[in-house]
């Protein structure tokens, strides 16, 4: 099962590499959102300090969701989804492969987005690059678990561009709140120590929805 998931993951990553434009588009979308925030919010260093965690995660959500839908879009283009479903592999390994693909994709984006965030919105962020990336890894795990499930679910649905965020964002609120709080702790220099309860909640969310998404993916993949 892990082997099958790995084969799918590798294939997805190769496709992502050959379609760099997807990644570039997503990154630039993130930059544009940051820019909009910089323009729309007051130019005040003190104020930015308070707003930074929220701005960072909203940027993450909005550009991350673009990455989610592309994963199943690639499968649809030439009917390869059908071939994948006809292969003698568990639906769970399809889920794991796709989920990890999305996770890595989003995480690579975060690697570039953190410096840009530091440049465009909140300069001190760069000092906490490592911690922010670790936090991103945890946040992106819950995000891509639920995200992969729901983007698989909405692939064939009309008006999916709007339906996916409508379904996904409310479900992600605990994750978002936890990520915002922990990031606030990190930015004032407390690291993860300041918000241990939130960290537990975040990890709990990751685990619960990783398992549930894995289990329910079967029902989403039937035709």
């Amino acid at each position: 099962m892990i082997g099958d998931a790995y084969v799918i993951l590798k294939k997805d990553l190769i496709l992502d590499l050959r379609r760099m434009e997807n990644f570039v588009a997503m990154l630039f979308f993130g930059v544009i959102i940051l820019l909009v925030f910089s323009f729309a919010l007051p130019q005040d260093e003190e104020m930015h300090k308070n707003l930074a965690p929220g701005v960072f995660w909203v940027t993450f959500l909005l550009s991350g969701i673009l990455g989610l839908s592309k994963s199943f879009q690639m499968e649809k283009e030439m009917g390869s989804m059908e071939a994948l479903l006809l292969a003698p592999i568990s639906r769970g390994s399809i889920f794991l492969g796709k989920m990890l693909g999305n996770w890595i994709f989003v995480l690579v984006m975060q690697c570039l987005l953190i410096p840009l965030f530091s440049l465009l919105f909140f300069a001190p962020a760069m000092d906490h690059f490592g911690e922010m990336l670790a936090l991103s890894a945890l946040t992106a795990l819950g995000f891509s678990s639920l995200g992969t499930l729901l983007s698989g679910l909405t692939t064939d649905v009309r008006f999916k561009e709007i339906l996916l965020p409508i379904l996904l964002f409310p479900l992600l609120i605990p994750l978002l709140l936890a990520a915002v709080r922990i990031l606030a702790g990190i930015l004032v220099g407390e690291g993860f120590q300041g918000e241990l309860d939130w960290l537990k909640l975040l990890i709990g969310f990751d685990l619960i929805f990783l398992i549930i998404a894995y289990l329910t993916f079967d029902f989403v993949m039937e035709l």
Binding site: F159, P174, R181, L201, F205, F219, E222
Partner: protein
């Protein structure tokens, strides 16, 4: 159906009786005054709403397990009735909040949880609209109902830590005398009557959905 019309008459009588007692018999609460009477709608509504989503959750699991249409119909009907009572909770909460907290909306933990729940299940109903009637629609909807329901404890925990101002759930706290006796009995009665009403609405909605599907099936296959 005999069964549902008995429920209907019972809940009508019950509602009339409750309305009469609320204004004629139940004393005015000392701290909050007359406006407190909205509690007899607000609290029962929120309890019904949670019960409805719980039924929808159970029926969804039942559907994915057994693949029988009756589970799908129940899940759908319960979610729809649940959304109505959820909306009622939010509206009465706002009306109640204006004189007590001096604002229509506060980001209080339980109110916020209810709002997010409302959004999730409105998403559920939208999904049902966007996907054509099929076993796919039933499966997708069931997945959303299951994840949505399981998300409730996480949402609640997150929102509680995030901000709280609501009076703690006075109704079920063990300490005697927090709510005056007549008020308590009044509330119990109204909760009971609201459950009756819920049972009636659910039974009616299931009946209606069954008929609608039977009719559409008949029309589609008549040629």
């Amino acid at each position: 159906m005999r069964y549902s019309s008995i429920l209907g008459w019972l809940s009508l009588l019950g509602l009339a009786l409750t309305a009469y007692l609320v204004f004629a018999w139940a004393p005015i609460e000392q701290a909050m005054g007359f406006v407190q009477k909205i509690m007899y709608i607000h609290v029962p509504s929120v309890l019904v709403c949670y019960a409805a989503f719980f039924i929808s959750f159970l029926a969804s699991i039942g559907y994915l397990w057994k693949r029988e249409e009756k589970f799908d119909v129940t899940a759908y009907a319960a979610a729809e009735v649940g959304v109505i009572f959820c909306g009622l909770t939010l509206v009465t909460g706002a009306i109640w909040g204006r004189p007590t907290w001096n604002t229509y909306w506060t980001w209080d933990a339980r109110l916020t949880t209810t709002l997010i729940l409302f959004l999730i299940f409105v998403g559920y109903l939208l999904l049902r609209r966007f996907v054509e009637y099929s076993d796919q629609q039933a499966r997708f909807a069931a997945v959303i109902a299951i994840i949505g329901f399981l998300d409730i404890p996480l949402i609640h925990q997150a929102v509680t830590w995030w901000r709280t101002l609501h009076q703690t759930s006075t109704l079920f706290s063990k300490k005697a005398g927090v709510i005056d006796d007549p008020l308590k009995w009044m509330l119990y009665l109204s909760i009971f009557v609201f459950y009756l009403l819920f049972a009636y609405l659910l039974a009616k909605r299931v009946e209606l959905e069954n008929r609608e599907r039977a009719l559409k099936r008949l029309l589609a296959n008549a040629d």
